[in-house]
């Protein structure tokens, strides 16, 4: 079984994002594996353990520095990595197109895992575009996954606590949600071992494809400011609660429904 897992190298959740004059972010910050991709890697490795003769291949589209995220995936148990090197940012369509071409050039997948979203670009759609390019069924926000003969059973979180159970043909694409599993911290020997696992480095021009003409272009970016001037609500508990009621009723107008 060939299991691919798509990972993205993203700014750390704790990092302060500074926008430079050229409209790009100051990348002099810590980068990590996209948190949802950790769930994707964990599930891929779990699936590998349940099947004989399986291989987990981590794949990333990004700058040279994204190698670090591929190494993290390999420390978690992926067998090897593919880095599609690109100096520019990509929208979901061209990301999916590139991943699709690199995967097809590498081999025939049985299951492909991604995170349900990347925390930097927040597109929520790469798994569906990837599925469409490959002709595979895709789901996202998976919170349970199991192999069931030649198909898979997946539970996806819908809104307000609703869950959907589906059966999918293989090959398929699965977008991992946070509740899918608890990613394990790699142990030191695994981290050391990951250093020697192979990574194939590709240029975008190595892939036999044309990037889609339809695209989403970023035309401007600015930091979202947190400018609020707090009013203090003080007094006895009763006065405080009374003042809060006023805010809810008169300012926010949320009590008339």
């Amino acid at each position: 079984m060939r299991i691919y897992v798509c990972v993205k190298h993203v700014p750390d959740t704790a990092a302060t994002i500074r926008i430079k004059a050229d409209g790009h972010i100051d990348e002099n910050i810590t980068f990590i594996m996209n948190p949802y991709d950790e769930n994707a890697v964990e599930e891929a490795v779990r699936l590998k353990k349940q099947t004989s003769d399986a291989e987990v291949i981590a794949i990333s589209l990004g700058k040279e520095s994204a190698e670090a995220t591929l190494r993290s995936a390999m420390a978690m148990g992926a067998d090897r990595g593919i880095l599609i090197k690109s100096a520019t940012d990509h929208d979901s369509l061209s990301t999916a197109r590139s991943l699709c071409s690199a995967i097809q050039a590498d081999g025939a997948p049985d299951v492909i895992f991604t995170g349900r979203e990347a925390i930097d670009s927040e597109g929520f759609q790469t798994m569906f575009h990837l599925g469409a390019f490959l002709g595979f069924p895709a789901v996202s926000n998976a919170v349970a996954f199991e192999l069931s003969g030649t198909s898979v059973k997946v539970t996806c979180e819908m809104e307000a606590g609703n869950l959907e159970h589906v059966q999918m043909d293989m090959p398929c694409v699965i977008g991992a949600g946070k509740d899918l599993n608890q990613p394990s911290y790699p142990k030191l020997p695994d981290i050391l071992k990951a250093r020697n696992k192979p990574i194939t480095v590709l240029e975008l021009s190595d892939l036999e494809m044309e990037l889609p003409a339809s695209r989403v272009e970023m035309v401007g970016i600015e930091p979202l400011k947190e400018e609020r001037q707090p009013d203090n609500i003080e007094g006895t508990v009763d006065e405080i609660a009374g003042a809060m009621v006023k805010v809810l009723r008169d300012k926010a107008k949320v009590l008339d429904g």
Binding site: E122, Q125, K178, I221, P223, P230, E234, I240
Partner: protein, 317 residues
């Protein structure tokens, strides 16, 4: 005249109010506004849609009547309707359902889709959305034959624009998709989804344990609010991850966000900074959130919230 399609979502048989807000993005006299419904094309739905500027209501069905929930089949049916009615701009909600359906529609059409927009300008096909989990806002332009936008619920207020809408039916072909829906397990129907709630009350470290969240649920029940949590409360196992607000949880934009015993980390703020009004209740006046809110309440949440709930009960009784 440009045509804009709106993917309409229903909740308990009614058009979701947040969908009506989305329509207001295209309230000009150069646009024909078409509502696409996969469920619930009742007279009541048509009435509320036409009161908010919709000119045509298209109920998408199959040869066997309404199409039962199946995200991929729904998306396929929407694509067929878009082609039939020559709709090249489609807007919907960035709700759980919208993220599912709109993304699938985009994938089928190979179309650009901007998800979770806080503003859209159809005249130049640009949309504003958060980046880096709410730490920045970027403007995007979509290029191609199709233009798809998923609006963040509550980002636009519903605006009335009375008119008359035609109700018509479009019969779609149901395709084989490689996905079989085995079962949909519904949560409690009175549960308000975090991403769509007008009011959210969230608990953090200050909640101390799982049971204490009850006072937040009691408050929420009183005014149909949703209950959220910080990562600390989720990691401690007090509540489920589905309730987490923040960078690795949900991004929300309610009219009022009440933070109870939450210090206000950068990651938490990323998930709720576009809220209309932020009220922070914290015993520590120096907690970060107390300087980044609209109303700071330096008091014990265990004293304040029950009294607040009781007062609300008196008002709504």
């Amino acid at each position: 005249m440009t045509k804009v399609g709106f993917l309409i979502e229903m909740k308990n048989g009614k058009v979701k109010p947040a969908c009506l807000g989305v329509i207001s993005a295209a309230h000009d006299n150069k646009t024909e506004r078409v509502a696409l419904l996969l469920e619930g094309g009742s007279a009541e739905s048509v009435e509320i849609l036409e009161a908010h500027g919709i000119q045509r209501v298209v109920q998408i069905t199959s040869a066997n009547g309404a199409i039962p929930w199946h995200a991929e089949q729904w998306a396929g049916a929407v694509v067929q309707a878009m082609e039939h009615f020559n709709i090249q701009t489609l807007m919907g909600l960035a709700s759980a359902q919208g993220k599912n359906i709109l993304s699938r529609v985009a994938a089928r059409l190979g179309a650009p889709l901007v998800m979770d927009c806080t503003a859209v300008d159809l005249s130049d096909q640009t949309a504003t959305k958060s980046q880096f989990s709410g730490k920045a806002a970027a403007r995007f332009r979509t290029h191609g034959k199709y233009h798809l936008y998923g609006m963040r619920p509550n980002a636009l207020d519903p605006v009335t624009m009375p008119g008359d809408a035609m109700l018509e039916t479009f019969q779609a072909e149901i395709e084989e998709t490689g996905i079989t829906v085995l079962e949909v397990k519904k949560g409690a129907s009175d549960l308000v989804d975090l991403t769509e709630a007008d009011v959210i009350i969230s608990g953090g470290r200050g909640m101390q344990n799982k049971d204490n969240f009850d006072i937040l649920f009691k408050f929420a029940k009183q005014i149909s609010a949703a209950v959220g949590a910080s990562r600390v409360a989720v990691d401690a196992g007090w509540v489920s991850h589905t309730m987490q607000v923040g960078q690795t949880g949900k991004t929300v934009s309610p009219k009022v966000y009440i933070a109870c015993g939450i210090s206000g980390s950068v990651q938490h703020f990323a998930g709720m900074k576009t809220a209309g009004i932020i009220i922070a209740i914290n015993l520590d006046p120096n907690a970060a959130i107390m300087h980044k809110c609209d109303y700071a309440v330096c008091a014990d949440l265990f004293d304040v919230i029950p009294v607040l709930t009781r007062k609300l009960k008196e008002i709504t009784a």
